[in-house]
């Protein structure tokens, strides 16, 4: 039975009001100046911020790769556990997400500070104190910690559907572990990987609060610079919109590249 088209109207209206119109506003602001004249100046001004833009992208890529490396085995272990353990593990994974994002990041500040929990524990065995906060490592750590569940959950939901008999068949036919992962698990979990990568990469590349709290204001990312255009000393929504637009285009480009890479792996069962 085909659903009547009219059912889609609320969603269409929703998308129109909350996605299309804001996007049009961003584009409008990006290509105009304070007098309302059309200009490319804001886009050209972006060249000053290319270094910070690329740094944000590199940080986000690093966070995404680390998340993937951690999430892949974790999701596999959860998906192969028996039903009761499986739901317990998923709940355990979700529990930290019930705590407010800011609080979780704040907790990392307490842990990583020069006088923080980790350095004090290390001090007990005469180590340190180490500089753990206010550097790029801390920012990436914050991204990995906050967005890891977004990688594990889609991977898990795909992996849990992989039939155990397929894995056994591969092993019966003499596949070693590496080959099993490369030729069977990886291709079959590709849809989960691409969802997970997008779910981690996109919020990481535009975050500003993680870099402010864990980077100590010395590791600003593009998100901080965009935020500064709106709530900083000089209110400049035009430059801010231009930055957001350029960021969006680069992210779109990277996603399409990644999806092409992924589609090659698609295996017809």
């Amino acid at each position: 039975m085909k659903a009547p088209r009219s059912l889609a109207i609320p969603y269409a209206v929703w998308v129109l009001i909350f996605t299309v119109v804001p996007l049009a506003l961003v584009i409008g602001f990006a290509f105009s100046d304070t007098d309302g004249k059309i200009t490319l100046e804001n886009i050209f001004a972006m060249s000053d911020y290319m270094a910070v833009l690329f740094r944000s992208i590199l940080f986000a890529i690093a966070a995404t790769v680390i998340c993937l490396v951690i999430a892949f085995p974790a999701a596999y272990i959860i998906s192969r556990a028996n039903a009761i353990n499986r739901s317990t593990l998923v709940v355990l994974l979700m529990v930290p997400m019930w705590i407010n994002f800011l609080l979780r990041t704040y907790a990392w500040m307490t842990l990583l500070e020069q006088n923080g929990v980790i350095n004090r524990l290390l001090g007990l065995i005469d180590l340190g104190p180490y500089q753990l906060i206010n550097n790029s490592g801390a920012v990436i750590l914050g991204m990995v910690y906050n967005y890891l569940p977004f990688m594990i959950l889609p991977l898990y939901s795909v992996m849990v559907k992989i039939d155990q008999s397929i894995i056994e068949a591969a092993q019966d036919l003499g596949s070693n572990k590496i080959r099993l992962v490369r030729k069977v698990l990886l291709p079959l979990s590709m849809p989960g990987i691409s969802t997970g990568v997008i779910a981690v990469f996109v919020p990481s590349v535009s975050t500003f609060i993680i870099s402010r709290m864990l980077g100590g204001g010395t590791n600003d990312l593009i998100g901080d610079i965009i935020e500064m255009q709106f709530s900083g000393n000089s209110y400049n929504p035009h430059l801010g919109s231009a930055m957001a637009l350029v960021l969006m285009i680069i992210v779109l480009f990277m996603m399409s590249l990644f999806n092409q890479f992924g589609s090659e792996e698609d295996v017809q069962l």
Binding site: Y49, V52, L58, E113, G217, L257, E264
Partner: protein, 418 residues
């Protein structure tokens, strides 16, 4: 279904009855009884007619900084509840993060406030842009309680738009166990001895203000050359700064994670209370003196109620409760008289008028051009990265990925063609 409907209508009826009963009680607001209930002395309150708007069902939208008014604290009078009980007006209290956020909220029309409490430089900017309305001081007789030195300030020269709320100065806070010797000057924030233990403001106006005070420039300079010199100084400092912070400074200094940093005197008092190792000084070169004042935006819907609220904030005991709670200094002479002698004689919290005139300067609004230039310098300072490899490295990765995808595709095509 019917039963549920009946239940709902019964509940609605009961509610409306309660509502009527409630409003009947509020017909007679017993001023003295209400004040005593909140632990306030009716003798110290002015004879102002606070109950005249009680039947108009007004909701007053108030925007203030976080932790900047005595509310929700068991040990201190809840200012908003007292106002509601006294006037029958409902207060809808919201907090905003910064002057700039407030400005963009008012500008974009995203929020309607009847009361805002911006800082000096933002007030002059808002006046200039016609975002504030003139106050009717017939409705605010308590203006007489404000110290004369706070009237007709630079940011509102004819005192038409604002009534001072709280004020303070920027000081240096330091941990006496981590710093040897005496701190007297802004130079300590550039002292390599403390490398990695220095905190700095994470907003351009305050950060540049410190560089300007250190170099002896006006805090309101419009000279690009002077701003460039300040930017160079801040860049020099970046090498030894642990972090650029705003309210995170509380945790970092109180926890001993950093040794020294600039912040506002009122907050310094709070920090020193929490950690006795901390102390604070006003640097010899002079500093920024800031005033936050109550204003009414042009978009306000309840001007008279807002003026009543302003008058209420100027009542001696209310102003006292607020300055006690916040820790900042009060410009209200009547409230000042009620303070402990120890606080009154504290030169860092209540310096003499001569000291203020000689050693401090208030921020006023800069021209759009200077603001934009300062923002640009600040952004450059923050994003400056000596690692020039990011861009080429990234491009190489991107090209490698593209080549990889295409080669793979070509190989696959070849394989499939067999």
């Amino acid at each position: 279904m019917k039963r549920i409907f009946a239940l709902i209508s019964a509940a609605a009826l009961a509610l409306s009855l309660c509502g009527c009963a409630g409003s009947q009680v509020s017909d007679e607001i017993d001023r003295d009884a209400v004040l005593e209930e909140f632990g306030l002395d009716p003798e110290l309150f002015s004879d102002y007619d606070y109950s005249r708007l009680k039947d108009e069902d007004i909701t007053l939208n108030v925007a203030n900084w976080g932790e900047y008014m005595s509310i929700n604290d068991d040990e201190s009078v809840d200012v908003n509840e007292a106002f509601e009980a006294l006037t029958g007006i409902t207060v809808n209290y919201k907090t905003v993060a910064s002057n700039e956020t407030l400005y963009s909220k008012l500008l974009s029309g995203g929020a309607t406030y009847d009361i805002v409490i911006p800082s000096d430089y933002m007030i002059s900017k808002m006046i200039k842009e016609g975002m504030l309305q003139k106050l009717d001081f017939d409705n605010i007789p308590n203006l007489a309680k404000i110290m004369p030195s706070f009237l007709n300030p630079q940011y509102d020269p004819d005192n038409e738009y604002s009534v001072p709320y709280l004020w303070g100065m920027v000081c240096i806070i330091y941990n006496t166990t981590m710093i040897d010797g005496e701190i007297t000057s802004w130079a300590s924030l550039w002292d390599e001895k403390y490398a990695g233990n220095i905190l700095m403001f994470n907003n351009p106006r305050d950060a540049f203000g410190i560089a300007q005070a250190y170099l002896g420039y006006s805090l309101n300079t419009e000279s690009k050359a002077e701003l460039d010199r300040c930017a160079a100084l801040l860049k020099e400092q970046k090498e030894i700064v642990q972090g650029y912070v705003m309210d995170e400074i509380f945790d970092k200094l109180e926890g001993g994670s950093a040794a020294i940093g600039p912040y506002y005197v009122g907050d310094a008092v709070t920090m020193c209370d929490d950690n006795p190792d901390l102390d604070y000084i006003i640097p010899a070169e002079g500093t920024n003196w800031f005033v936050d004042a109550v204003c009414i935006p042009t978009t306000a819907e309840n001007k008279e109620a807002a003026e009543m609220y302003i008058n209420f904030l100027c009542e001696a005991e209310i102003a006292l409760a607020n300055c006690d709670y916040v820790g900042y200094s009060t410009p209200n002479a009547a409230a000042y008289e009620l303070l402990d002698d120890e606080v009154k004689s504290d030169e860092k919290r209540y310096p003499s008028d001569e000291f203020l005139a000689e050693n401090t300067e208030v921020f006023i609004n800069l021209s759009d051009e200077t603001n934009a230039y300062m923002q640009e310098l600040w952004t450059q300072l923050k994003v400056d990265n000596s690692n020039v490899w990011f861009v080429p490295l990234f491009l190489v990765c991107l090209i490698a990925a593209t080549v990889f995808v295409n080669v793979r595709r070509a190989l696959k095509k070849k394989r499939d063609s067999y």
